[in-house]
Amino acid sequence: MNLVEDALKAIAEQPPVKYSAKDFQSDQDVRWCPGCGDYSILAQVQRVMPELGIPRHKMVFVSGIGCSSRFPYYMNTYGFHSIHGRAPAIATGVKIARPDLMVWVATGDGDGLSIGGNHLIHACRRNIDLNILLFNNQIYGLTKGQYSPTSEFGKVTKSTPYGSVDHPFNPLLVSLGAEASFVARTLDRDPKHMQFVIKRAAEHRGTSFVEIYQNCNVFNDGAFFTYTEKESKDDHVVFIEHGKPMVFGKNKDKGLKLDGFTPKVVSLTDGTASVNDLIVHNEKDTMLSFILARMSSLPELPRPVGVVYAVDRPRYEVEVSNQILSAIQKKGEGNLEKLLNHGETWTIQ
């Protein structure tokens, strides 16, 4: 017998609800700084939710600490604003206990990659069905402007007046290195693309890791403008799509070609290369995923944005449930009386 299952069964199957984005807005005032990239992320998530066909009472948003972690307060779903860095671990417990729920994690570069780095990587490797949105603004916002684990080397902040001497993390590489089965990157200033990526993440079964370039207009304004603003975006971002060649540039006049294991930018107009020479994106190609993720380290290459990697592999919570079902099949439902009396016992008259 399980009380929770009973309680859930007692709820009559509801007809599919037609939601709008508005249905996912909570009654709480949004308290991010005006102009913050978080507003866009919230809006895109709320826009995607109605398309998922999942009742909102089946959704849980879990977060840690930081600006990004206020996210659950603003979603009209179940929400859990926890402690610094621990959201993936809490979400893991929720999902193992309740595989019927759709569980999201909202985190940031400090929360997810610094204090909570351990939980993030282990969630990825277990491939538990969580959707992790990592808002990367390369700064600590809520503590008012210290460098973060994704801040560039030499970053001058309140805590590094002479420049940071820390080498940054690359979130895509961290998640790929941690065996995530879904890895993607999107941009706060590209609503359509973000909606697409969030939907893909939601539909993926297993841990989905999404890095979102997010502008902190107070403490790190313009950190990603090269990749998000009209003037520079086309020449510095390559939007990758499964099965399509990697073309970019204002006039779609440039492409990426592999030279050994290193991508090189080639011109599609000067006769040196054609579309047929370009890398064709394959989301299931492990090796390619690492090459794409590594591109962020090479300034002469555009930043790949889109779904970098997406494969299916066994999910933790499913395996756990299967073991339980098979144990029950083999041994029958647990019987406490039997347990206490099994093995060697003796009777005193």
């Binding site: 009380l3 509801q14 179940y78 893991t92 417990g93 999902k95 206990a97 206490l340 016992t345």
Partner: protein
């Protein structure tokens, strides 16, 4: 030759050898067999933190002590009657626990030059006169084991690993125990390797036959069954009992059990035990660290399972922040701390009671958590169950304190009928009308448990201070004070829902010995001994450390002296003084070992023999 059969009331035996010699297994087999014979018993495994310390060294010695008898047995025995020493190091380390005139059974083959040197013996103690005050039996255990297996063609290494069962066979003969339970155990344990069943059985029988035929043992002993309460018994360790208590709580509450944990000595056996029982829908999650252990459990409780995390002192330290989260969230959670010697890594395999202050106070902010402790290995079943009952009923984290001594120690357990355990009724919110996540039950002050999946109950909770009733984030000064007091009041009210403290002895008198947790057996033995001498001494063992039982203060006031023995520097003593403004006399031991009852007896004598100046410091 007929050997004399003598009757004994109780016996204490210590098996000692290298940590790779299988002394724990040997001791546990002797324990099971002895339990089956109906003796009362108590055990003390004493092993090093290193898994296989270099052979022959003093720090690599592993010991297992069992005290069994036809009378009530409360402790593993202050002093041993028999020491089985497989090598010189085992002899050297354990000789001080042997009574004068006690029996030593030494494996002569283990006393070679190399081992003697490693143990720091200048000459072989088996041959010089240094052991003359003991009954020394020097037996070629290794050679006799080899002889028993000579025709099997086993490797030397394998043969050597059987020799502990030769020693066990001898002890079975000496204390008239049957071989069958152990042979049956071989058959189960080595089901896939019949050669090992055969080899170990042969060696066990050879040890028994050796006792029968050799001239060196003049007598054997009988220990009649104890007059235990009628009923069905089993032998159980503290960690097994804790695991089963948690399963029982899950069954009685109808909630799935979720254990989020990280391996740590001496708590890991609870994880091992729970992970076997998946047909009870127990989900065990070996997390990436201690913090994920507790936070995943909080997540599971939020989802409607009963979350449990198990650990020991250093892990408790890592979990502190998350415990505070559980306090402010008000979700049910059971935190099991199997205490070991501290601070820091301290003495991982040794026992201590020094995490009491940590359990009660060790968090930031006003963060009250109920604390329950077990008194004996079997009592861990009830302690864990009670922790779960309180957690679910009051929507609060509860700390259950066990310790290394209880966890690894074993005793016979009168198996309770399942019907004797109370039902636990979780209160889930289901009605979206008038739902407020931080409204409260008038009686318990518990908030409703609103689990995800119920339409209309969508709400947000978190670690920020929340507004009374609505649960919305609130920085309001009055609200904060109100909520701090509310969380405290909720925990205080649990005092109305726990049994009153009970005294073993007289309602007033000269000395009341007040202990908590695992010191129960040693204190009980000491107090019984003093009472038999006609002394005015009584005993009270505290299981509920937060909140304290309501009648405790009145009880303490009825005695001239309150003696508080603890395996720490006086953590309960400090609480009793500040709570009840009474003087207490401390008896503190911090050696990684449980009290001997003689140590407590001596302190009682000291108090009674002279006008005792109350220690106030």
């Amino acid at each position: 030759m007929t050997k004399e059969l003598k009757n004994l009331d109780d016996v204490t035996i210590r098996f000692a050898g290298d940590s790779g010699d299988g002394m724990q297994l040997t001791g546990m087999q002797f324990t099971s067999t002895t339990a089956l014979l109906g003796n009362d018993l108590s055990t003390l495994p004493d092993y090093p933190a290193e898994i296989r310390a270099p052979a022959g060294t003093l720090f690599g010695v592993s010991g297992f002590q069992i005290h069994f008898g036809s009378t009530e047995i409360n402790t593993p025995g202050d002093i041993c009657d028999v020491l089985v020493a497989m090598n010189p190091a085992a002899l050297k380390v354990n000789l001080r626990s042997l009574s004068d005139g006690g029996i030593i059974i030494a494996n002569r083959d283990g006393f070679n030059d190399k081992n003697l040197k490693l143990a720091g013996y200048a000459s072989n103690p088996l041959d010089d006169e240094s052991l003359s005050k003991y009954h020394l039996h020097s037996v070629d255990i290794t050679k006799l084991t080899q002889n028993a297996l000579s025709d099997m063609g086993l490797s030397n290494k394998l043969v050597d690993r059987c020799k502990n069962f030769f020693a066990l066979g001898m002890m079975y003969w000496m204390y008239t125990r049957p071989l069958e339970p152990t042979i049956k155990w071989f058959q189960e344990k080595f089901a896939k390797n019949p050669e090992l069943i055969d080899a170990n059985t042969r060696v066990l029988k050879a040890g028994y036959a050796f006792g029968e035929t050799t001239e060196i043992f003049a007598a054997r002993y009988e220990v009649k069954p104890a007059s235990l309460k009628p009923g069905r018994y089993r032998s159980i360790t503290g960690n097994e009992a804790a695991a089963w208590g948690l399963i029982a709580g899950s069954v009685k509450s109808g909630l799935d059990l979720f254990l989020g944990t990280y391996p740590i000595t001496p708590a890991s056996d609870i994880l091992h035990e729970l992970s076997k029982h998946k047909n009870f829908r127990v989900k065990t999650f070996q997390a990436e660290d201690e913090i994920a252990g507790i936070t995943s459990s909080i997540g599971a409780s939020y989802g409607g399972a009963i979350g449990v995390t198990t650990t020991s002192g250093p892990g408790m330290a890592l979990k502190s922040e998350a415990m505070g989260l559980a306090v402010i969230l008000e979700v049910p959670l059971v935190i099991v701390n199997v205490q070991r010697g501290g601070p820091s890594t301290g003495l991982p395999t040794k026992t201590e009671q020094a995490d009491l202050s940590q359990a009660i106070f060790g968090r930031n902010g006003e963060s009250p958590i109920p604390v329950v402790a077990a008194t004996t290995p079997a009592d861990c079943f009830f302690g864990a169950f009670e922790a779960m009952r309180i957690a679910i009923k009051y929507m609060t984290p509860v700390i259950f304190l066990s310790d290394g001594y209880l966890a690894n120690g074993a005793e016979p357990w009168l198996i309770p009928p399942v019907s004797s355990l109370p039902d636990i009724a979780p209160k889930f919110a289901t009605d979206p009308n008038e739902f407020f996540p931080y409204s409260r039950d008038e009686k318990t002050l518990a908030r409703p448990w609103a689990i995800p999946g119920i339409p209309g109950l969508e709400h947000r909770i978190g670690g920020l201070e929340k507004e009374h009733i609505t649960g919305n984030v609130s920085y309001d000064p009055e609200n904060h004070e109100f909520m701090v007091r509310m969380r405290q009041a909720k925990v205080d009210r649990i005092a109305d829902d726990i049994p009153p403290a009970e005294v073993d002895g007289d309602p007033n008198g000269d000395v009341l010995v007040v202990g908590w947790g695992g010191t129960y057996g040693a204190i009980r033995s000491a107090v019984e001994a003093k009472r038999r001498e006609g002394k005015s001494v009584s005993h009270l063992q505290i299981k509920y450390l937060n909140p304290l039982q309501k009648n405790l203060g009145a009880i303490l006031a009825n005695y001239r002296h309150v003696l508080v023995p603890e395996l720490n520097l006086g953590q309960l003593s400090r609480i009793l003084r500040s709570e009840y403004l009474i003087p207490t006399i401390q008896l503190n031991k911090i050696q990684g070992l449980p009290f001997k009852s003689s140590e407590i007896e001596e302190k009682i004598d000291e108090i009674l023999s002279r006008e005792y100046a109350h220690e106030l410091s």
